[in-house]
C-alpha cells in the first residue's frame, strides 16, 4: 500500500522543480500562444513542406502527393526515376503509417526493415492512408511520397532498428529543451517513450547527452546495442537549433516541437512540427519546462532574427 504511494510525489515538489503539467500546458501555453488557425500549417505535412521551401528550411524532397483513391497507381510513374522512396500520411503523427521503400522490382517492393511487399499491398497501404487510418481524428488524408533520408552514421550504434531524430521544444522562437529518442527492441523500432524507447535529454547549448531514461528510469547503456549513451554529441548542433528557431517565423506558433533528422550528405533536415508536443521530454532532461519558459519570458529579448536568437542562446 505504502509502496504504491511512494511512487507519487507532491505538487509542491513538482512546482519547485518547474515541471509543466498537462493542464498548464493546454491552458497557459498552447491556448495562448498557438492560434487554432495556424494548426493546419503543422498538422498537414504538405503545407509544412511548402512553407519550409519558402523559408529556406531543408526538408526531405517531395516526389509527389496522392490525393484521391483513383490516383493510387500513379505512384509508379512518380517513383520511376527513383530507386528508393518514403510513403507517409500528410496528417499522421508519431511515425504512424510511414513506409520506407529501399528498392523495388517488377513484382515487389523491399522495405527498409527487410520485408518485401507486393504491389497490391503497397496500393492498399496508400489507400488506407487516404481513407484516414493514420490521420488525427480519422479524417480523409493525403499520401506524401518523399525522398529517403540517409541517416548520418553518428546515431548508428545508438538506435535499434529505427530512425533517431532530435526533438527540440521552441518557445517564443527560442529553443528551450531538446532530446533524442532512440528506438529499442522493446519499442519495436518505434520512437515512443511510453513503448519503451530510450529518451536522451540533450544539452541545449552543446547537443551533448545530459541524461538518458527508459521507462522513466535513468540508464547509461543502450539496452540492445550497449552503446554508451553518455557519449552522444549531435553534430551540426547550431544548424539543428537554427532550423527549430526558423520554424517559429515560418509558422507563427509560440510553442511547438520540431523533429529534426540528420542526413549524411545534406545535414540537418526538418521532418515535422508538432503544435502539441508531449511532456515526457522533461523526464529525459531531468528538468522542468516551466522554469525554461519563465526564463525566456523574463530575460530573453524579443524581436530578434533566428540567427540572433541562436547567438543569444549560445552566448
Amino acid at each position: 500500500m505504502f509502496g504504491f504511494f511512494k511512487k507519487f510525489t507532491s505538487a509542491k515538489m513538482l512546482r519547485a522543480k518547474g515541471v509543466l503539467g498537462m493542464n498548464t500546458r493546454n491552458f497557459h501555453i498552447i491556448s495562448r500562444y498557438n492560434q487554432r488557425r495556424l494548426y493546419p500549417l503543422v498538422d498537414d505535412k504538405v503545407q509544412t513542406k511548402a512553407l519550409a521551401l519558402q523559408y529556406g528550411l531543408e526538408t526531405p524532397n517531395l516526389i509527389g502527393v496522392i490525393e484521391h483513391q483513383f490516383q493510387v497507381k500513379n505512384i509508379l510513374s512518380m517513383v520511376k526515376n527513383h530507386t528508393e522512396f518514403v510513403v507517409k500520411p500528410a496528417h499522421g503523427s508519431g511515425g504512424k503509417g510511414v513506409l520506407v521503400v529501399k528498392s523495388f522490382t517488377d513484382s515487389c517492393f523491399t522495405l527498409a526493415s527487410g520485408k518485401t511487399i507486393t504491389y497490391s499491398e503497397l496500393y492498399q497501404h496508400i489507400s488506407n492512408i487516404l481513407s484516414g487510418l493514420y490521420s488525427l481524428g480519422g479524417r480523409y488524408d493525403e499520401a506524401l511520397i518523399e525522398e529517403v533520408v540517409h541517416f548520418s552514421d553518428v546515431f548508428k550504434d545508438y538506435s535499434y532498428n529505427g530512425v533517431p531524430d532530435v526533438r527540440i521544444i521552441v518557445y517564443k522562437g527560442y529553443p528551450i529543451m531538446a532530446m533524442t529518442r532512440l528506438s529499442t527492441a522493446e519499442s519495436g523500432g518505434r520512437a515512443n517513450l511510453h513503448q519503451g524507447a530510450v529518451g536522451v535529454g540533450l544539452d541545449i547549448k552543446t547537443g551533448k547527452t545530459k541524461k538518458a531514461v527508459q521507462h522513466n528510469l535513468p540508464l547509461t547503456y543502450h539496452p540492445d546495442t550497449h552503446a554508451d549513451l553518455r557519449k552522444i554529441e549531435v553534430p551540426f548542433w547550431r544548424e539543428h537549433l537554427l532550423i527549430a528557431a526558423k520554424a517559429y517565423e515560418m509558422t507563427g506558433l509560440g510553442y511547438f516541437g520540431a523533429d529534426i533528422v540528420l542526413d549524411a550528405t545534406k545535414g540537418p533536415m526538418m521532418l515535422e512540427l508538432n503544435a502539441r508536443p508531449g511532456l515526457a521530454i522533461q523526464i529525459a532532461n531531468g528538468l522542468g519546462l516551466k522554469k525554461a519558459i519563465k526564463r525566456v519570458d523574463k530575460y530573453y529579448p524579443s524581436g530578434l532574427t533566428p540567427q540572433e536568437r541562436i547567438n543569444f542562446i549560445l552566448r
Binding site: K7, F8, T9, S10, A11, M13, L14, R15, A16, K17, V19, G21, M22, N23, T24, F27, H28, K96, Q124, S127, N128, S131, G132, L133, G138, N192, H194, Q195, V213, N216, L217, P218, L279, Q282, I283, G286, L287, G288
Partner: protein
C-alpha cells in the same frame, strides 16, 4: 496572466451567485412547497395520468372512463381533467366526456393524485348479484367445466374460486385444463373462461380493473377477478391466486363494466402514466402555499408539466452530475479514457440494463467484437466500410444475445439491447487500433479506464437520493455548470502527473 485571473474571477462570481440562488430556491421549495430531500417520504403519494386517445369520426362523441373515486384504499387529493372542447360530467365511478362533431385525433387527459388511506383497506362495498345465467356451452364443454371444478377441489384455497384460480396457475398445466383452454390466450380470455366455469357452478363473478402503483409510462391496467361468495364480493389476483387486493393496488373500475367506452370514435385506447409524485408533495404543500401570495410561482415550474415529460426531465437532470465526474476524472485525476464522454454513455446504458448484467453484457459484446474485428483486419478493408461492418456485427451480436437470453431465460443476455450500438462499435474500433499500434496492454488499459469511470458515474447517477435531489432541486445543475467552467481554469497538476513526473524530483534507485 491577466485574462486568466479575470476569467476565474468572473466564473467564481457566477458560481457564488448560483450557489446563493440555489440555496434560496431550495429553502423556498422545502419551506413553501413542502419538497423533501429524501425520496422515500413520498412513497405513498401517487400521480396517475390516464391518457385517452381515439380517432373521431365526425358524429357526436361520448367517452366514458371508469375512475377510482369510490375507492376506499386511496384518497384522492386532486383531480384534473384536460379535455378542450368537451363537457365533462363526473359520476361516482365514471367520468363522461361529451362533445359535438369533432374530427381527427383526440387526446383527453384525466389526472388524479392519490395517497394511501390505510384505514380503508379491503372494505369493498357490496351489492348482492343476481344468480349468474348459464354460459353458452355445449354438453361436452359443460362436462369438461364440471370436471375442472372437481379436479381443482384438491388445490389449496379457502373457497371454490381460490382453488380454481390456483388450478389455473398450476405449473405445468393439468391436461384437462390444457385441452379446455385455447392454444393461445390473453389474460383477459383466461379470466373470462374462469368466470364461465364459476357460472356453471352457480357462482357470480365479474372483472375489476386497476393499477399496480409502480412508476412508469404507458401502463395498461391489470385485471382482477371478483367473486360473490358467502354474501360478499371477494377479490382475487388471477395471476397469483391470492385473495384480496395486492399492496399498492388502485382499483379503477369494478362491477364488470368496461374501463373505457367511446361513441363517435374509433381506435380508442387508454394508457396510464404513474409517478411516485413530487407533484403530489408539492400539491400537499402548495395548498398551504396557495393561501400565501407565493403560490403563483408553482405554475411556472417543470413540476406542473405532464408526467411523461417530468419523467424524461428527471432522467436528464442527473446527467450534469455525471458530466462533472467525467471532467474531474479527466482533468484533475488525469485518467485517460476512450473519447471524452464514452464513460458517460456506458453509465447511461448501465442504468437501463442494471449493473451486473449490463457490465457482463458490455464486456461480452466488446470481446466478441474485438475478435471479429481482428479476423476482419486480415481483409484490409477501408476505414468507413470497416467501421460500418463492425456496427452491423455489434447489432448481430445483440440479436444473438437477446435470442439466447430469451430462449434460455438468461436475463443478462437480454439486457444487451440497451447498449448504444454506434458507440459500442467505435469503442471496439478504437480498442483494436490501439491494440495494433500500442499493444494489448495499452488497449486493455484504455478500455479498463473507460469502464472504471463509467462505473463510478453509474453509482452516482443510479442512486435514488441523487436522482431525487437533482430533479427536485434542479437549480443545482446551474451550480454544476459553473463548477465545470471553473474547472476549465484549473491549471494545477493532474493526480496521475504526480506519479508520472516523480522521477524528476526523486532519487530513484
Amino acid at each position: 496572466m491577466k485574462h486568466f485571473i479575470s476569467a476565474r474571477l468572473i466564473l467564481t462570481f457566477f458560481l457564488v451567485l448560483s450557489l446563493a440562488f440555489a440555496g434560496y430556491s431550495i429553502y423556498y421549495k422545502i419551506k413553501y412547497w413542502g419538497f423533501s430531500i429524501s425520496p422515500r417520504q413520498n412513497a405513498n403519494v401517487w400521480a396517475i395520468e390516464a391518457h385517452i386517445n381515439f380517432l373521431a369520426d365526425g358524429s357526436p362523441i361520448k367517452v366514458s372512463l371508469g375512475i377510482p373515486r369510490k375507492n376506499k384504499g386511496f384518497k384522492i387529493l386532486e383531480e384534473n381533467v384536460i379535455a378542450n372542447g368537451y363537457n365533462t360530467q363526473k359520476y361516482d365511478d365514471r367520468i363522461v366526456f361529451r362533445t359535438k362533431n369533432m374530427i381527427g385525433e383526440q387526446d383527453l387527459y384525466y389526472k388524479i393524485i392519490v395517497f394511501d388511506n390505510i384505514t380503508g383497506k379491503d372494505k369493498l362495498k357490496d351489492t348482492a348479484p343476481k344468480s349468474p345465467s348459464l354460459p353458452d356451452m355445449d354438453e361436452q364443454q359443460l362436462a369438461q367445466a364440471r370436471q375442472i371444478i372437481k379436479l381443482s377441489a384438491s388445490m389449496p384455497g379457502d373457497d371454490t374460486a381460490e382453488k380454481l384460480v390456483n388450478f389455473f396457475n398450476q405449473e405445468p398445466l393439468h391436461p384437462a385444463l390444457k385441452s379446455y383452454l385455447p392454444v393461445q390466450y390473453t389474460p383477459a380470455v383466461k379470466l373470462k373462461i374462469m368466470q364461465d366455469i364459476l357460472a356453471v357452478e352457480g357462482i357470480s363473478s365479474r372483472t375489476a380493473r386497476g393499477l399496480r402503483l409502480e412508476e412508469g409510462q404507458k401502463i395498461t391496467p391489470d385485471l382482477m377477478l371478483e367473486v360473490y361468495i358467502g354474501g360478499a364480493w371477494r377479490i382475487y389476483d388471477p395471476l397469483t391466486g391470492k385473495r384480496g387486493l395486492p399492496d399498492n393496488f388502485l382499483l379503477f373500475q369494478r362491477g364488470g363494466k368496461s374501463l373505457l367506452d367511446v361513441e363517435g370514435g374509433t381506435g380508442s385506447s387508454v394508457k396510464f402514466s404513474l409517478q411516485k409524485s413530487i407533484t403530489s408533495t408539492m400539491n400537499l404543500a402548495s395548498q398551504r402555499a396557495k393561501q400565501s401570495k407565493k403560490a403563483g410561482w408553482f405554475d411556472y415550474t417543470i413540476y406542473n408539466l405532464p408526467l411523461a415529460q417530468q419523467n424524461t426531465l428527471k432522467w436528464l437532470s442527473v446527467f450534469p452530475l455525471g458530466i462533472l465526474l467525467v471532467v474531474l476524472m479527466r482533468n484533475i485525476v488525469g485518467v485517460q479514457t476512450m473519447g471524452t464522454f464514452t464513460p458517460m454513455l456506458i453509465s447511461m446504458s448501465l442504468v437501463k440494463t442494471g449493473f451486473a448484467t449490463g457490465l457482463i453484457c458490455f464486456v461480452a459484446i466488446v470481446i466478441m467484437g474485438l475478435i471479429i474485428r481482428f479476423i476482419m483486419s486480415k481483409l484490409n478493408l477501408l476505414l468507413v466500410p470497416r467501421i460500418s461492418a463492425v456496427v452491423i456485427f455489434v447489432i448481430l451480436i445483440i440479436h444473438a444475445l437477446t435470442f439466447i437470453g430469451y430462449n434460455f431465460d438468461i436475463k443478462i443476455a437480454q439486457a444487451s439491447v440497451f447498449f448504444p450500438i454506434i458507440i459500442t462499435a467505435w469503442i471496439i474500433e478504437r480498442a483494436s487500433i490501439t491494440w495494433e499500434e500500442d499493444g494489448p496492454v495499452n488497449a486493455g488499459k484504455e478500455l479498463f479506464n473507460s469502464l472504471l469511470v463509467g462505473v463510478i458515474v453509474y453509482f452516482v447517477i443510479a442512486n435514488d437520493y441523487v436522482r431525487h435531489i437533482m430533479f427536485v432541486f434542479n437549480e443545482l445543475n446551474l451550480v454544476i455548470l459553473f463548477i465545470v467552467m471553473l474547472l476549465g481554469t484549473y491549471t494545477g497538476y493532474r493526480l496521475t502527473e504526480l506519479k508520472r513526473f516523480a522521477p524528476l524530483v526523486k532519487k530513484v534507485n
